[in-house]
Amino acid sequence: MEYEATQEEIKRLLEMKGDVRGIVFKTDYLFVLDKFGEEGVKKVEQEIEKMGYSFSYKKNINSMDFYPIGLRAVSLLAISKVFNFGKKEIEEMGKVAPKSSIMVKFFMRYFLSIKNIFDKAGEMWSKHYTVGELEAFDINMDKKYAIMRIHDISLHHIFCDYLQGYFSSIIRMGIGEDIIAERTKCIHRGDDYHEVVLRW
């Protein structure tokens, strides 16, 4: 199992300060529904319940409402546990998420170019999360890379893998080329912030 979390860790996650918009759970739900059907969704909800949180993706989640930030990682952990997902699959989930997110659609008018997306990245983050900060650190069109940094948020490394896929999908939408994403810094590895380098 690539992603492990002890009961203490789950407790810490669920007690963390900060909120996340319901849309992230909706994209999780749509991914699981597409791949494993209603039965798969049920298994994940049961797993979340075992972790100590009663939760139904369909009944309790409003895309625009706010939920405890730790639940973001808990949902991913439950999905990875039920379907034995590793880094590759979690990254894939991250890649698929922007394609069905209403929040991303709000920003589509800015998807003119990678530069526009890059400039709006911080704003997109704050529409999803009340904690942490996404810094569009550097972009070089000639050398074909962009660097994103996330500060002041420490959930679980499963979330980092998910975001890696998410960022590459968003950037791909603007540039139309395959993206190679690499996590060069991570709070869970002792760095001060998370850093993802995206090359095309």
Binding site: M64, M108, F111, L112, S169, R172
Partner: protein, 185 residues
């Protein structure tokens, strides 16, 4: 008096309804639709587009429109759109997931920012497959009919020719009979 919490709850419910409304507008449209950015990347597609192309939302969104249309045509199409602002019913072929060509009419309109910068293109398609099938059927029937007419004409010529020959022969027999009568008489 409605308190702050109730107001937020109502607003959230309204936003959810609005979300459902915008999603339904796109999802239930019977015509295949997609929204692309000026670089030609598909940012949104609806279920009708998915059934026409065979690519689901996760496969279509984030891909270039050249996955479905010829690269050359895409360039020409984008240039024309930038120049005219819209395209109304141009007949083209798009490729589905199976690699088959689907004849369609394409309609497109650009969306601009307040600064008149193009920030997206709405595209709809009208699938001509059934119409083309009917057209081909009509053409086939027309051809068959023409061949039948030709056969009839040929037959007619043969019959008429035979009648003329018979009349000629009858005439000849009559002449010969007359000659014989004269000799005998």
């Amino acid at each position: 008096m409605v308190n702050q919490e109730q107001k937020i709850k109502t607003l959230l419910e309204d936003m959810e309804l609005l979300e459902g409304y915008t999603e339904d507008l796109f999802s239930f449209a019977p015509l295949p639709l997609c929204f692309i950015n000026p670089a030609g990347m598909v940012l949104e597609s609806n279920p009708a587009f998915e059934s026409m192309t065979g690519y689901n939302q996760n496969e279509a969104v984030g891909e270039k429109l050249s996955l479905f249309v010829n690269d050359e045509y895409l360039k020409e199409f984008l240039n024309k759109l930038i120049e005219k602002g819209e395209i109304n019913g141009e007949e083209i072929l798009i490729k589905n997931k199976e690699g088959e060509d689907i004849p369609v009419f394409i309609f497109a309109k650009v969306r601009k920012t307040e600064e008149k910068e193009i920030n997206g293109i709405f595209i709809s398609f009208f699938d001509l497959t059934e119409i083309k099938k009917k057209e081909a059927e009509i053409q086939k029937n027309k051809k068959e009919l023409e061949e039948k007419i030709k056969e009839m004409e040929k037959f007619n010529q043969l019959v008429v020719g035979r009648e003329l020959k018979m009349a000629e022969l009858k005439e000849r027999i009559k002449e010969l009979e007359d000659k014989i009568k004269k000799i005998e008489g």
